[in-house]
């Protein structure tokens, strides 16, 4: 399993358009991928799950991937978070 923390820098938090881009880009990976925030964990492949956390700007979230393609999945997530301006680290 690989795990990484991110600080959300998008001033609107995680809202529909970037969340759609993120969820859409990882659906093809086999690994289980979770997004943790405030003690809750949701499936990152679920748009409804991601949106339900209501993550605001400045929050710290944990993303974990577990499976055969976990490394590739994590580097894709890194790339999308930056490209969509959700998080720059």
């Amino acid at each position: 399993m690989v795990e990484k923390q991110y600080t959300i820098t998008d001033e609107a938090g995680i809202h529909a358009r970037p969340a759609s881009a993120l969820v859409g880009s990882i659906s093809k990976f086999q690994s289980d991928i979770t997004l943790g925030f405030n003690g809750k964990h949701v499936n990152l492949k679920s748009i409804l799950g991601v949106m339900s956390l209501g993550i605001a700007s400045g929050s710290t979230v944990t993303i974990a991937a577990d499976g055969t393609d976990e490394e590739q999945a994590m580097s894709k997530i890194d790339e999308v978070l930056k490209a969509e301006g959700i998080s720059n680290q």
């Binding site: 001033e11 609107a12 809202h15 529909a16 358009r17 759609s20 969820v23 859409g24 659906s27 949701v42 499936n43 492949k45 679920s46 748009i47 409804l48 799950g49 949106m51 339900s52 209501g54």
Partner: protein
Amino acid sequence: MTSPLSGIAASTGIAIAKAFRLENPELTVEQQQVGNPAEEIARFDEAVAQAAAELEIIQQKTAQQISDKEAAIFGAHLLVLSDPELIGPIKERISAESVNAEFTLQETSDMFITMFEAMDNEYMKERAADIKDVRKRLLSHLLGVKIQDPSMIDEEVIVIAEDLTPSDTVQLNAQFVKGFITDIGGRTSHSAILARTLEIPAVVGAQNAMATIRNGQTVIIDGLAGKIIVDPDAATIQQFEQEKLAYDAQKAEWAKLKDEPTISADGQHVELAANIGTPKDLAGVLEHGAEGIGLYRTEFLYMGRDTFPTEDEQFDAYSKVLKGMDGKPTVVRTLDIGGDKELTYLDLPKEMNPFLGLRAIRLCLEMPELFRTQLRALLRASVHGNLKIMFPMIATLEEFRQGKALLEEEKAKLTDAGIPVSDSIEVGIMVEIPSTAVMADVFAKEVDFFSIGTNDLIQYTMAADRMNERVSYLYQPFNPAILRLVKMVIDAAHKEGKWAGMCGEMAGDDIAIPILLGLGLDEFSMSASSVLKARAQINRLSKQEMASHIDQILALSSSQEVEAYVKGIS
């Protein structure tokens, strides 16, 4: 032939076509046990696949015919449709409990809907509507009930609907939709304004259209009189075909006036301008020969998105409009939001009386950073054309001074930073609150111009909510009380050598025009499609003669008397 229906004439023209009912079917779900859960899951998968295929087509069509931005909503719907946390539990439950797919879908999606509706953020609450939309589509496939999408219309029709939502209207294609009839709404409702922009005839507030008109029946819309004829006989069709020809011929006649100035019969010039909402409306403005833009409603830049537009995005939009107008006067109204016009990402408390609450300039002065961003974008764009800035909902002189001070501060900062700003920007106000109309002589010493916003001025003067159909009889543009206020504003402007315009619906009304001309109004701003008709009318009227009737008109006692009087003289 059934008896004629009628409603509010929302957009002129005549259309004859088959009726297309835009239904909002009731989808009833019952719990049932199923014998073979595997078959039920397969049936559910099939419905998901059909719904996805449908959404992809709608997304594509919307992107082609409207814009990528409007199409994005359907992309989000597709993601919900493939959401493992929604679809997975549904299948598990069908398998575990042998219950039908419709019921399981209903229960599982309800859980998410309740969760989003409970969130204390307007934006998240709206996501509940997305889930409902997707559920409706899925249920319709499971139940075998057809739901319609306006973008799928591919033959000439007249759309009949209870109401058209903004998401319906973005999908309307004027190539096929020849006109529409809605049961609710008024002349200033969203769908009515859209009809005038698309230049298709429309009747709104028809009340019984959905109850009366069947799919495929021939329907005539007379958008001039607000009449609807269902199942007309051959003679009636022929009569309206002729009227349509006459109307089209008249339109062609008006089109000849496109590049002519607006001169009254006694040689006086007035300016005819157009109202716009986005840079996309520019084409219509130029096509109809408007001499300027009298109202650019910037709030549309802020609507239908997740975050505030950046300074650069705003700069691009304003520059595009100013360049497109090529030096012609362009009045930009600063952000008019709040009250009934909500932004999902701006979480403002609900108000008891939104029309009397924190909105427009009041909100901008309360949130100066938001306002400053817009002012900077406007100032930077000012070098691209003839910009005039207008503050909405001004009630006191102090509000105007505060707004102008912020503008001057931003201008000084830009100039210090070496960024060019035009030094001939006029700064004026909308007159839509009676206190401002009454004090117009004092305002006129400080503002560069007035623009009378009649929709709000009427509702505030008559104390009648313009969204409330039960008091719509009080929406009286020709009430002498309104006309007297209009006169005060125009006279006050002229006394200080300033100009006065009007940017409400009234400015393009053929009963109002003779009065406004007589009152000395300098600028008339209206829907672009009304400009040529107004120009033809003003060409025939003598300003001096109209002015000679003003004292008598203002002494009349009711709106009806004024209308009758004007019909008698023009």
